[in-house]
């Protein structure tokens, strides 16, 4: 069950994995941006996967409304968990999210609820056996390439949405509570309410990722939503970088590339990945794309756009200063 990262070797399959795990990484990154670490984003991934699969396989819904419903459930669960845990310290919050995720995983493992669909076949979750026959793609003759386009469009919309929101007061306030909670509260930013909003948004993103995952794989095993998935989500964000939305995408691309490069050493992959996350946290806690690097890249871009000597000179001196 731990091989949900190795479901395919085709190029379109890899691209789809990249989109799905980028969305999950974005959800962990969003919580990190608000100054907290969630070790339980896999719970919302699982909830979104089950909800969207129920909507299409039992309810006969189309994919997009089903994904929307999954996102709604993910947002509700994320918001509720954040509201309940608002008073916890960062350490307690991290342990609390892990406990919540394990409770969700065990709850899904115990849940059997099979109902006949339009064709009279029994569909739905079947306890530890998981949820089988999620055949929306096959029933609607959607090819893997078309599915990839749908998923990539959704990821692009999410990135576009973030690009707009990050420039608003809401986006800036989220960043502010991530940097200094006390200072943000002193600047009249409603810290708790904002954290609930961010957690709800992160829950929705993880649920969207789960919904896409469910319809691609056609079956769900509740054991897949284990802490290993959670460390991947946080690991992608931490390796890629905290400063920019490109960070979690870079992290996901890095891991999927690593997976392909070390296909023969599958059992050692987690040994490398786990070690890398820990090494990054020790020596580069804000990831590859941290604020300093983003500033330098912005300087380079600016120098290239305005080729007068001064910005170039300023950039070079900034590099020399380190």
């Amino acid at each position: 069950m731990r091989d949900i990262f190795c479901t395919t070797t085709t190029l379109s399959g890899l691209a789809l994995d990249f989109v799905i795990f980028s969305l999950l990484a974005l959800s962990a990154w969003l919580v990190l941006r608000s100054g907290r670490i969630s070790l339980g984003q896999q719970a919302f991934f699982g909830l979104g996967a089950y909800t969207a699969a129920l909507a299409t396989a039992v309810g006969g819904w189309s994919l997009l409304p089903a994904l929307g419903l999954g996102m709604g459930v993910g947002a509700l669960a994320g918001g509720l968990l954040a509201a309940l845990t608002a008073r916890l310290s960062g350490l307690q919050f991290a342990v609390g999210t892990l406990a919540f995720a394990e409770l969700v995983r065990l709850g899904l493992s115990a849940w059997s609820w099979q109902r006949p669909n339009a064709q009279g076949q029994l569909r739905g979750p079947d306890g530890v056996n998981g949820f089988r026959e999620i055949r929306w793609m096959q029933e609607n003759q959607v090819s893997p390439e078309d599915y990839l386009i749908i998923a990539a469009t959704l990821l692009a919309l999410v990135l576009l949405f973030w690009a707009v929101v990050s420039r608003t007061r809401l986006g800036l306030a989220t960043r502010a509570i991530g940097f200094d909670e006390g200072l943000a509260a002193a600047s009249a930013i409603p810290v708790h309410r904002l954290r609930v909003t961010v957690s709800a948004a992160a829950g929705a993103l993880a649920a969207l990722s789960g919904g896409l995952f469910a319809h691609n794989l056609t079956f769900l095993d509740p054991a897949a939503f284990d802490p290993m998935l959670g460390i991947h989500a946080v690991g992608y964000a931490l390796i890629g970088g905290m400063a920019s939305v490109a960070g979690p995408l870079l992290g996901a691309a890095f891991d999927i590339g690593l997976l392909q490069a070390t296909a023969g050493l599958a059992s050692w992959r987690m040994v490398v990945f786990g070690g890398l996350v820990a090494l990054f946290l020790r020596w580069r806690p804000r990831g590859l794309l941290d604020e300093a690097l983003i500033d330098r890249l912005a300087g380079l871009w600016h120098a290239w756009r305005c080729p007068s000597p001064r910005p170039v000179f300023r950039f070079l001196t900034s590099l020399l200063k380190g």
């Binding site: 990190l32 100054g35 907290r36 670490i37 070790l39 309940l84 845990t85 008073r87 916890l88 310290s89 960062g90 350490l91 307690q92 991290a94 342990v95 609390g96 406990a99 919540f100 394990e102 409770l103 065990l106 709850g107 493992s109 115990a110 509570i177 991530g178 940097f179 200094d180 909670e181 006390g182 802490p227 290993m228 460390i231 946080v234 690991g235 931490l238 905290m242 059992s267 050692w268 992959r269 987690m270 040994v271 990945f273 786990g274 070690g275 996350v277 820990a278 090494l279 946290l281 020790r282 806690p285 804000r286």
Partner: protein, 307 residues
Amino acid sequence: MDAWLQHTLDGLLQAGPYALVGLGLTLGFGTLRRINLAYGASAMLAAYVGAWLHARYHVHPLAVLAVVLAVAVLAGAYVEWLCFPGARGIDRTRSAGTTLGTGTDAREVVALASSFAVWMQLEQLAVALLPHHLNAFPSWASEREWTVLGLGLRPDRLGQLLLALALVLALSRWLQHSRGGLMWRASASQVTAAHLVGVAVPRVQRIAFLATSALAGLAACVVLVVDGQVTPMFGMWMLVKGLVAAMLGGLGSVRGVLGGALVLGLAEAYAQALGGALARDATAWALLMVVLLWRARPGAERRTAHA
């Protein structure tokens, strides 16, 4: 009625292993102010090395136990070096450079995430060493069962409980009534003040870290010689049960871990009787969640006991 009495007895006996695995975590938090999520995985890796020596070279059981203790300490040292670099020394205890934010406990949270990653790493390393699900461990499980007042009682389980009791009481007495214990408690509660009155805080912290790692190895040995086997679930089991027992007893309190283990053991025994294995697994996490929310309730007094 007899069945429920038997469940109660089973729950009480189960408190032994839970208290043993909780002890290392609670000592680690009490002295070093940290939650080490790789705690169970370190012990699991050590147990796997022991099982590998046992199966492949038929090493004597006592030598296997010594190796498990040694590897647990080594794995602990690796986790310490990688995840908790700022924990040693006086000058670095205030802040260890960049963190996620600059919140009060940001450093601890980063260390927690880091130990989470190392947990997965060590667990995979153990599985890569012995890929089977069940691996034989030297077994000292008792063959017979005593009958006391019509209830079944396994002597090896009773032995685990008595060992846990003895260890908790001895540690707690040492912490309260010895000079070493006083230094230990002083370093835990106020690093700078302890340093100013002449306590060698880094040395105390090193000993504390060695003690917690060795305790993790010892707990793994005591649990596994009764089970006679080790599975890839052992690391997770040890962390969750230990964390819940330690948190229920008030993280940092040595005597409290015994109470926490009793509550967990009894709750799990009843949950198993009512709802099966899944309910038993969920009980530990649900208790953990309830404890966290209870401790963070409005107006809750934040205090941490040390013994």
